[in-house]
């Protein structure tokens, strides 16, 4: 039995679902990459989350970011995460000058909620301070048109690369994906049953920093670390939700666990300066934008996303909206995005917030709140 077959068999063993009656599709995972001795997820600090908050990080309107405050928030967060006294030493725990580093940003919530320029620029600044050349830093996501809308270039040093796998989400441009590394599954009888990882991840990057936002999501309940790194690094993922049903419960974690993505994603910086409590992952309107004014640091994507579930759900409760856990058919208006955008008590798909717990069962992190250590810092 060769290694490829071995990996495939391991991953097609059915796992216990976290939702009663939910069936887990049969997944065939093809990857020739071996896990690192300490895979990046959950990484060096399983179950540990540093929450750095500051009421001063945004102006009163929420439009303008206070760059100095964010800089301080990042320094405090990284020092606390690693226990290092100096910020640069904290970053050296993860990176050295030989690394080629990908920064996975989120632009889906344009124009209101995207990975902030200040946090992305701060990340780049620290990588350069460690000795990583700008040309070895890649700000990336799947779709070029979304990167173009957010336009990070003016905020970053010359030489930093900003790259995408496809021009847009049209399913016609596959050259940016690795044909030899993929997850195969027949979810709804679709013909194209493969989701391939970006070539950038397999062929160039040695490390990845994940910078998601705090957002609600119509299919997964929330979109945080797991969804951003998984659906943001693989092709052909929109096929997981159709006509009110979603396979995101198991697919998100399954993708995130694929090597080399799992091993190379070594740092999670959740941008919670702003958030979206309904209608996500988009932010077409400001109506559902809110301002958590915090940044979460960690290496464990499950632990951070577990906190995110409560942050989004608490906000929804405060706004009188149904829970992200609500599966009732009476709130379901399949594929009616217009209604969903008008009414926070409309779901267009049955959400699968259990994807976070599912990912924990794949070894990606700690889901049990009693085992998650949260250190809060006020700046």
């Amino acid at each position: 039995m060769d290694r490829r077959t071995f990996v495939g068999l391991l991953t097609t063993v059915p796992l216990v679902s976290t939702v009663e009656g939910e069936t887990v599709p049969k997944y065939r995972i093809v990857s020739d990459y071996r896990p690192a001795s300490v895979p990046g997820m959950p990484g060096l600090h399983p179950g540990k989350v540093i929450a750095v908050k500051s009421g001063k990080c945004l102006d009163a309107s929420g439009d303008k970011v206070n760059a100095e405050i964010v800089r301080e928030m990042m320094a405090r967060g990284m020092r606390e995460l690693t226990g290092e006294a100096k910020e640069i030493d904290a970053w050296r725990r993860f990176f050295d000058p030989s690394d080629v580093v990908g920064i996975k940003v989120n632009c889906g919530g344009h124009p209101w909620v995207v990975s902030s320029y200040e946090i992305v620029a701060g990340t780049v600044r620290n990588l350069i301070a460690v000795g990583v050349k700008p040309s070895q830093i890649y700000v990336y996501k799947r779709f070029q048109n979304q990167l173009d809308e957010v336009h990070y270039a003016p905020h970053l040093p010359a030489g930093v690369r900003i790259v995408a796998a496809e021009r847009a989400n049209r399913n016609i441009d596959n050259t940016g994906y690795d044909p030899a590394t993929y997850v195969e599954a027949d979810l709804f009888g679709e013909e194209d049953t493969r989701s391939n990882i970006m070539r950038l991840v397999t062929e160039r990057l040695t490390k990845i920093i994940n910078i998601p936002n705090m957002k609600d999501h119509g299919a997964t309940g929330v979109t945080g670390c797991l969804k951003n790194i998984a659906y943001g690094s693989f092709s052909n993922v929109a096929r997981t939700h159709q006509r009110g049903k979603s396979h995101t419960l198991s697919f998100v974690g399954t993708l995130a666990a694929v090597e080399p993505l799992r091993s190379r994603t070594v740092l999670q910086i959740m941008d919670g300066l702003r958030g979206v409590w309904h209608g996500g992952p988009f932010a077409h309107t400001r109506r559902y934008v809110f301002y958590p004014k915090q940044i979460l640091f960690g290496t464990d994507p499950v632990a951070i996303d577990r906190l995110l579930l409560d942050i989004i759900d608490d906000k929804r409760k405060a706004e009188g909206a149904i829970s992200v856990w609500d599966r009732s058919p009476k709130y379901l208006d399949v594929d009616n995005g217009t209604q969903r955008d008008q009414n926070p008590n409309v779901n267009i798909i049955i959400r699968e917030p259990g994807h976070v717990e599912y990912a924990s069962k794949l070894g990606l992190g700690v889901h049990d709140l009693t085992k998650i250590s949260v250190r809060e810092i006020e700046v």
Binding site: N171, N174, T175, A180, G189, A238
Partner: protein
């Protein structure tokens, strides 16, 4: 196939324009065409190979659908898996029985390229009436078809459809073709196939076939994806006709989506060496990311617009 037969196999243009349009046709590379009988002589004198054909004769040929994708929200997802109007299944079906073997397209602007490719890929006797604005593109496709190596290989299939001549059976064939489930049409079961799909039997009841998409999915799952001769990844709008014999295969890939596709991934069961690739609009091309794995050959086609032909010798 000899040169004359090959020339005759090329899609033929039905042209009602006057002989003053000869320079435009020449420029497009059109040398042979159908014209109304009263214009035949003047076109001959202008140096063209002419087949006289009245409008009635043209219309008496079986009309084919305008190929491409169509908005049918009731039966298809407009973004992920749109409804495809394709004629290949019908041509294959007709070729298995006596009767219809001559067709025509009456095409709106923008469709000549795909229609010409489709007609050629399935070896149909087709005459195309095109929008004059498509003349250049039509000529480009003719030029591409002329440079292809001659070939007349039989259709390869994973299963047989036992044709009862019904509309229902036709819709099943349509959806099987749409999913690249390769089939051969026969009036009787064919022993070389593990699956002979005969509607009205216990295994394949007609009431199931009334949802032909779901029925095609049932067939796919019976066959299993692992056992299919052909899989296509990276697009839901490319349909393949696969032909071959003991020594080689030819893939005719037709893109019904109307937009260039980059990096189409193909899995072909069996071991094949790197062969020749011809892509309309790009010429010869090399396959990339070639791999032999799990009893199949996989490779990527760097790009395709409307039509690509891949010839692979068996290893």
């Amino acid at each position: 196939m000899n040169s004359l037969l090959f020339l005759l196999a090329l899609p033929l243009l039905y042209w009602q324009g006057g002989v003053e349009s000869a320079p435009a046709l020449r420029e497009a590379g059109v040398e042979r065409l159908c014209v109304p009988p009263d214009m035949a002589e003047s076109w001959r004198k202008a140096g063209f190979s002419v087949v006289p054909m009245s409008q009635v004769e043209f219309a008496s040929r079986e009309k084919l659908l305008t190929p491409g994708i169509a908005a049918r929200a009731d039966v298809a997802s407009p973004t992920r898996s749109p409804w495809v109007n394709a004629n290949g299944w019908r041509i294959l079906r007709d070729s298995s029985r006596d009767g219809i073997d001559k067709y025509h397209y009456d095409l709106p602007a923008g469709k000549a390229l795909l229609a010409a490719a489709e007609a050629f890929a399935y070896g149909a006797d087709v005459i195309l009436k095109i929008d004059p604005s498509d003349l250049e593109e039509f000529g480009r496709m003719l030029s591409f078809l002329r440079q292809l190596p001659r070939d007349d290989l039989p259709t390869l299939a994973d299963l047989a459809v036992v044709d009862d001549g019904s509309t229902l059976a036709g819709e099943v064939m349509n959806l099987l073709a749409r999913r690249n489930l390769l089939f051969r049409v026969s009036p009787t079961p064919l022993s070389q196939f593990r699956f002979n799909i005969k509607l009205g039997t216990e295994e394949y009841p007609k009431k199931e076939a009334k949802d032909p998409s779901l029925f095609a999915l049932k067939i796919r799952r019976l066959l299993t994806d692992e056992q299919r001769r052909l899989r296509i990844y990276g697009s839901e709008v490319v349909i393949c006709r696969l032909t071959g014999d003991d020594s080689r295969v030819r893939m005719h890939l037709l893109n019904y989506g109307g937009r260039e596709i980059a990096g189409l991934r193909i899995r072909l069961r069996g071991a094949f060496a790197k062969g020749e690739v011809f892509v309309d609009g790009s010429g010869r091309m090399q396959l990339t990311d070639y791999a032999l794995t799990d009893g199949a050959t996989e490779f990527s086609l760097p790009k395709m617009e409307t039509y690509a032909v891949i010839d692979l010798p068996k290893r």
